[in-house]
């Protein structure tokens, strides 16, 4: 039963990902991306990493996709179709992606990790303690760096999107 659910989620993710990169309506593309990201959150739930699944839903589904949909509304007529990709570009991209996929697949089958144990997942408490620990294998420094990065990105967004005065420039 658990295996069946994994295959179901995997097919759901790949189908929605495929539709997201091939559909010609940009708004539908964003919605298919939304479903693919929800499927990935489902994969995390399947692996019993509930905290990562929650972060995925909160940041990707609740944040990034909403941001993308807003930018679509601001920059496109939502009913307008995207132009057709020319045939040579399509075939070249298809060959590049397919050959890369097959090459990686060969590597995966050569790797063959054997029988692995499906282990228990860490608790949120343990995650929080290691994230803020300054001792061995503590992640306090990357945590602080990422907070600085987020602040820098926030300021950068404001500066870029600020309305420039054409007379001054």
């Amino acid at each position: 039963m658990k295996d069946f659910i994994f295959y179901l989620i995997a097919v759901f993710i790949l189908l929605n990902g495929f539709l997201s990169v091939t559909t010609r309506k940009i708004f539908r593309s964003a919605i298919y991306l939304l479903f693919a990201l929800i499927g990935i959150a489902g994969i995390y739930f399947w692996m019993e990493y509930e905290f990562i699944a929650a972060v995925q839903v909160a940041v990707y589904v609740g944040g990034i996709v909403v941001l993308i949909i807003f930018s679509i509304f601001l920059t496109q007529q939502s009913g307008k179709e995207l132009p057709v990709v020319n045939r040579t570009g399509n075939i070249t991209a298809g060959i590049a992606a397919l050959s890369g996929f097959l090459f990686t697949l060969i590597q995966i089958y050569r790797f063959n990790p054997g029988n692995l144990v499906f282990s228990a997942s860490p608790s949120v408490e343990a995650i929080g303690e290691q994230l803020l620990s300054t001792g061995d294998s503590g992640y306090a420094l990357p945590f602080e760096i990422i907070s600085t990065l987020l602040l820098a990105a926030m300021i950068a967004c404001i500066v870029i999107a600020m309305k420039t005065n054409p007379k001054k420039a």
Partner: protein
Amino acid sequence: MTEIGLNHFLILSTGLFFLGVYGFLTRRNLITILMSIELMLNSVNINFIAFNKYLWPDQMDGLFFTLFIIATAAAEAAVAIAIIIHLYRRFFSIDVTDAGELRH
């Protein structure tokens, strides 16, 4: 007990990654290119979590890498969308073929 091994996750994330590559190469609209990049980042996250779950079960390093990738991806998407909206104000188009002002 489940039959799903590490290989299943690797195949899933490989498929998702190269769907992103295909979208990145064929799309001409900046927002759809950004969506393809998000797909690729997510496939990498699946890899990190699967490796952590199967190969390194009593540690949490893969989990933290995934958290930091998600945070970086959010910052990247925000800056990219700010740039896209600014580009639209200037050129009234977000097609990559129209934004050739930096081209030498």
